[in-house]
Amino acid sequence: MKGTELVIKALMDKGVKYIFGYTGGAIMPIFDEMEKKQCFSFMMARHEQGAAFMAQGISRASLSTDNPQVGVCMATSGPGAMNLVTGVADAGMDSVPLIAITGQVPTHVIATDAFQESDVVGVMMPLTKQAYMLQDVNIIEETIHDAFFLASSGRGGPVVIDIPKDVQIDETQSDYTFKAHEYVPDIPGFFYSPFPERDAIQKAVALINRSERPIIICGHGVICSNAGKLLRQFIEKTNIPICFTLHGLSALPVDHPLSLGMVGMHGTVAANRTLPQADLIISLGMRFDDRVTGNLEKFGVRAKIIHVEIDPSEIDKNVKTTVAIHADTKEALVRLIKDPELISKPRRLWFEQVDAFRRERLDELEAELKRGTGKQGQLLMKTIVRKLSDITLGKDIIVSDVGQHQMTLARFYNFQTVNSWFTSGGAGTMGCALPMAVGVKLVRPHERVWAICGDGGFQMNIQELGTIMEYETDLKILLFNNGYLGMVRQWQTLFYDGRFAGTPLKNPDFGFIAKAYGIPYSKVATLEEIEPALTNAADHKGACLVEFLCDPSEVILPMVPSGGSLEDMIISLSDKRISPA
């Protein structure tokens, strides 16, 4: 068999349905074979970075379905592969399984600086779980099977397979056989143990039972192991308040009585006030990112820490744990819930304190949400998000870009559906939303998908409107246009004396752009127009774009200043530490 046939066969054996990519000289043979076989839905992105994010959308959104899939993207050598890098690195930071297949120049010209040659393995190695370059046609199938196993086992991540053009067209040995359904990957250095040790569980239960002021931090691991329901059982059984990391959101309904919302740099007042007071922090599938902890030296100083984590290198990396449970979050939760010694406590004093934190600034916030406009009469993002949340009952899928609107969504969208929130967290890649939403919609076709962007990020992958047009993807695109790179502007307002260096944008007429791609468009400038526009978008079949003219001076508070501790949180613009313009 030919190399290209083996690539296609292996991908089919692994259940791949969708492939995103962009062709070119060194990947042509594989594209040609795909065209002959017609076995996948192929989507041509308009830029390789778009293809990588579309593939991410597949992996992220299908986790919670009956048929979890690993997204696959393809690109040619040199610039094609290099354009994938951002999307691949992003998958690495957010633990998203992803397979990237790149063409490479033929073996005999490798290392001669041949046309469109670049050192893909060298570049990808530090960003991926594994980067292969195949030099032998006979190991193509086994390598692709290994790659899927690595990408999706344990903590997810990207794997890159670089295939020189001559290997793609080589023929296998005459006695070549490979039994896909019998093949078990043998990777001696890859350990993956989903099950927690009994001893650690016992210690954790003892700590939980003893604790008077516990709190849970729910991370991406809960979503990745599809443990939302178990988490709910666990918090209800133990009566412990819970807060979420950015990627932990949508693990359970965010308005659950025990929920405090998101914690961290832009977390809720309630979560950021409660966490430092806790005597026990139970962190589930999260990695104590600096955006969650703030200043590490002041984080959790009063608390003992139980850390449930699948990746052993995350344990004790940033925060010293009292009890480390090295396991899949789901397996750990199953055992914790089943433990006969685990008790529920009323913790009346603790909840009184937590409730007081919940009430802090609540009235002011509600007044602001109701007012809905800034000083110049432009719309507030939070009001739009609140209305979106009300109209969709919090049940729709939200794919967000990166910036102020992302934090606003994380704070004000009332997530009800498990695994319904997708965005670039660790890497914070602007431009992720539009392509990611394309992948998400493919694997969750019966749910409504909203792609929400700022005017900066929207233009970073705006070319993917072409993909949306071509494949008639049913996305509701909301563009929060404030004419600035809002989050950086916010930092400039708070910490750089209001000098707006490199943040104002002269934007094109987005109506014309939408028209050029044949996408229905509407513009919203007043409060009254918000609801009808959102309802229309929700009811419309097919893609549409709604642009909102937002107030550039809106800041998303509270905010923990970079390097500060959660207790240093700024909750009001009248805070003495800041110097607004």
């Binding site: 530090p126 690595l150 990777i187 001696p188 350990f191």
Partner: protein, 162 residues
Amino acid sequence: MNIKIHTKRRALVAFMLDQPGVLNKVSMLIRRKMYNVDTITVCKTRTLGISRMTLTLCEDSDDKLNQVLKQIEKMTEVISAKELDIDQSFWREVGLVKFEADKDHFKQLSEHYSFDILDRQNHEIYIVQLSGTSKTIDDFLKDIGDEKIIDMARSGLTTLEK
């Protein structure tokens, strides 16, 4: 920037698949995580296809060292990694030194150190091979005298447990 000087010298041993790119991966990790590594040596083991890597570094914090270990173990090519107890293991290296010495000086050196003479030119210029602890080699070099040394190379440490 304040650079903290670490004084505690430690050795890690890792067993890994003998594949191209593995050494590259480890050295990239060292750069990426800014570990302060002194020596790396790699050799074959008795098992075909498995290499043994010895890393030495100066690191006072146990937590940081555990992180290094975990990050190395995370690589799919690494089968195991551990720290060696300094009192329960031997740490040795080989030094090759080319130097000039007169008869008396050379005699003195041979009385104090056990080395092999690899080459001798004009009765005055020697290339010798000396193995031992890092300190032995340091002392040997000191006794030769910096101005007398023409060239030298050291292998980096390799280690074995008791």
